[in-house]
Subunit: 524 residues, 2 copies
């Protein structure tokens, strides 16, 4: 039996569910996340060697078109046919099924052809669901694709091809999940999300995210995940953050033919281009006016070259953000370019996706930024809350609440040192009161991210978990004037004392002198 | 009497308070917003001709340093001394006053020298306030600067130098305003904001915005406004949106010496750089590893070259955003990289700055995006509200509320056409109910931006201005199922009918048939 044994996918670095990986194919090692420009097997607008020079390690081409038009050259191999010495991924005609309803070839015929031409990463002939279809049609595409997948696996004759299985189901998320669960049981080297192109074309990024989540959840995380047709710089960072490792796209050509210029915030129509906000070779060599004045064919080539450079930049920026462990901030910023992308971001980060939690490093070199309540969904914040709930408070009877100190962490502050001299440490929990985190016990105050945070958040409405953890015997509080943490704490204390904790003695001091005296009285 | 008569500043395009302008100096025409790299008159890390090749039309150099070290070459002129054939702006030693407490030169001596060396844009010898100073010290720097300004004006001998006056006052905003008011009365060709460098270094962008607002408010808008030392890509877009036209910065060198790499979202420490997320000549020619491995001097030069390219990109992107009339979205996105910058954005856009309102085009080609309540501060939205308050409702007695239509604008919808057949048009106001804008009368429904908006906003809590404009005789409402505008409207209607309007007959229909019947009854 042939297994995908020669293939290796190694993950080097993660943030959120995004990862920098290295995929070994029979031809080369490629770094992921990777964008694979789509190359026409015969007519190339930008020659493959130039695409290679721009830093692209892999391309996608169409085995079905090659089969129909270059079958006699099959023995030369796909690398020679297209003139690319890096990794070549081949599509199988599934997209043509979506476009034209059917293709004139059998799944096994095309998969045998993909093996023959030496494709490094080969897609089975799937049955794409598409977007505007009925549920029963969608369901059929799922079974047909899985059927084709099983047949292809059985018929394999080489073990050095990474076979890729697209997950179908379209907008029917339960079908996507079902498709993913069944796919996960098959020996594929790579999985993909089927038919997202129309979803992206209609800017329905929330649906795209739901489709990614529904499929990723059930797929093995040690295999790369490919997103078809994602050539828009707006959505690549978010897709990466959700664990998409590979993208293919013809957008660099399609946009170019449409006189659209890819920029960091989206695409710009050429007529609207007064400046060239890009430092690439093409843009450095001419002005916007000159670009507009080029004859059509030259202009399309120039735009396609620029678009390829802009997409490469989007990938490099995203990888750098993973490397720096600031992917959350980066993706959030990118998604801020379009409400639909931002809504997609919101859905993604509140989805409780396990890989987001797993991929986020436990300690980061740099502090994190909190912009609004949405950022409280960050795994770093959730971990703080978990640490709180894991504290053993069973022997604590006294709660002492200090104001937040300028000295970070609180653990090394002057006031804590003073307080610890006055209290019975065994029986007392000493906290500071933070506007964002509520009560933060000294024990966890030096732990990332509480000690390294920048924000302008309003105080949050909450029922403080530490305060409400038990019936305290006594609570000593020091309020500092103009401390924004005071008002929410006051409310919390009020709610606390009106309930079952009416016997707790609460002493509030407004200056350190009286605070100190109160502590002396408490622990006399 | 010598006036700044030969100088011309022409504004070509605006969005928010940002503007693309053309400033004519005696040497060349420069386009604003412009960043002027700071050049050492003697030791240049990147030679001036190269800076020119990168597209920089103007540079800033120090007349005081030139005075002290190159006085004998004064007759050659500053352009020849530094080897730059574009516009040269000269600082006068004010920064040295800030750094070293004082300079060994008289204001008139240095201004005469600036005239002699042929500076195109010359800064008077000011007395920078600095940041951590007392109010009385700050006040003295304001009067000393104004004093020096008046003396310089009187002593002028050339009329082809654009004299620049820095507004002082530091963090004391009333002093800044006072300084600006007094400065506005003087015949200067350019104004500047004094001492923002320390403010920016401490990332106190909110204070920076307050200082800009306090000074811009009182200065003539037909003169360029210069912001000292703003060489951070994070803050340039916001500063431009507030009407800053010129920036100077040595950051490209300072960051380079500090092994810091300017990126679109901030700076990255070289050691953290695994990729080069940039398409500039330098970054295209080597990999991150190779950059890190360069010998110190070469590395600093390479980083400085990249930094210059990155800053140029920030300026070009900002200009393109003004040109496309999407500066709000662009600045918002950029400020989303740091909570302090975002807070500064919030302060800026809620400041009621007149120029933001004036500079925002009344009609835009493309729709606008609303992300959250902050975006409701957009001038486009404020104008819609103003249009509502200008409607003459005196003869209207009946209010008809339809659901929002898919057809945009509402004015051309099927349902409106039907409704208009049934109602007494003279006495009836027909609206649709929008989740974001509340009731939108058909009359204004085709006006930008109501007809062109993309958002995922929750409905806003509000007391609807149209509903509450008067005591309606009758209100006919058609609710559509699952319309998110229904709940807030229901609440509004309830509040409306419990008060002084209890006599208004309100009829709510849940399908078109009964809605139609109700209208027939009303206008029988």
């Amino acid at each position: 039996m042939i297994l995908n044994s020669t293939y290796r996918f190694e993950i080097k670095s993660t943030d959120m569910a995004g990862r920098i990986g290295r995929l070994e194919t029979k031809t080369s090692k490629i770094e992921t996340p990777a964008l694979l420009p789509v190359i026409h097997p015969v007519r190339q607008l930008i020659p493959c060697f130039e695409i290679r020079q721009m830093g692209y390690e892999a391309v996608m081409t169409n085995a079905y078109t090659t089969f129909r038009r270059q079958r006699d050259r099959a023995d030369e191999g796909i690398h020679r046919i297209i003139g690319f010495d890096g990794t070549v991924m081949t599509d199988s005609g599934g997209y043509q099924v979506l476009e034209f309803g059917s293709v004139n070839v059998d799944p096994l015929e095309i998969s045998a052809f993909e093996e023959k031409i030496g494709s490094d990463i080969a897609i089975i002939l799937d049955r794409p669901t598409g977007l505007e279809v009925t549920r029963s049609y969608a369901s059929r595409t799922v079974s047909q694709t899985l059927d084709s997948a099983r047949k292809t696996l059985e018929a394999r004759t080489r073990d050095d091809v990474i076979w890729t299985l697209p997950v179908q189901g379209g907008k029917y998320l339960d079908l996507v999940a079902k498709s993913a669960r069944a796919s996960a049981k098959l020996d594929f080297g790579c999985f993909a999300l089927g038919s997202p192109v129309e979803v992206m074309e209609s800017y329905d990024f929330p649906l795209l995210v739901r489709m990614i989540l529904a499929s990723k959840r059930h797929l093995p995380i040690d295999r790369p995940f490919h997103l078809f047709g994602a050539g828009h710089p707006l959505i690549i960072p978010l897709a990466v953050a959700l664990g998409c490792d590979m993208f293919d796209s013809a957008s660099y050509v399609l946009y170019a033919k449409n006189d659209r210029y890819i920029s960091s915030g989206g695409t710009i129509r050429l007529e609207k281009l007064e400046y060239l906000p890009c430092g690439c070779k093409t843009c450095a060599s001419l002005k916007a006016k000159e670009l507009k004045a080029l004859p059509h064919e030259e202009r399309v080539v120039a735009l396609a070259r620029h678009n390829l450079a802009a997409l490469m930049l989007a990938i490099e920026e995203t990888k750098q953000a993973i490397w720096e462990e600031r992917l959350w901030e980066y993706v959030r910023g990118k998604c801020s370019n379009h409400p639909s992308a931002f809504e997609a971001f919101r859905i993604a980060v509140t989805s409780n996706m396990l890989e987001i939690e797993m991929g986020t490093p436990g300690f980061k070199d740099r502090g994190i930024f909190l912009f609004d309540d949405l950022d409280l969904s960050r795994p770093e914040v959730a971990r703080h809350q978990e640490r709180l709930s894991n504290l053993d408070l069973s022997r604590k009877e006294f709660l002492v609440i200090c104001p937040e100190t300028r000295t970070k962490p609180f653990l090394s502050s002057e006031i804590l040192r003073e307080v610890l001299k006055l209290v019975d440490v065994e029986k007392t929990l000493v906290c500071y009161s933070s506007r964002v985190f509520g009560l933060v016990p000294a024990e966890v105050s030096d732990v990332f991210p509480v000690s390294q945070i920048t924000h302008h958040l309003e105080s949050l409405s909450r029922s403080d978990p530490i305060l409400n953890a038990k019936s305290w015997r006594r609570i000593n509080v020091l309020f500092r004037r103009n401390d924004p943490a005071v008002e929410p704490l006051k409310k919390d204390l009020q709610n606390y004392s009106t309930g079952k904790n009416s016997k707790t003695a609460i002493t509030v001091s407004k200056n350190y002198k009286s605070f100190k005296r109160q502590l002396e009285i408490t622990y006399r």
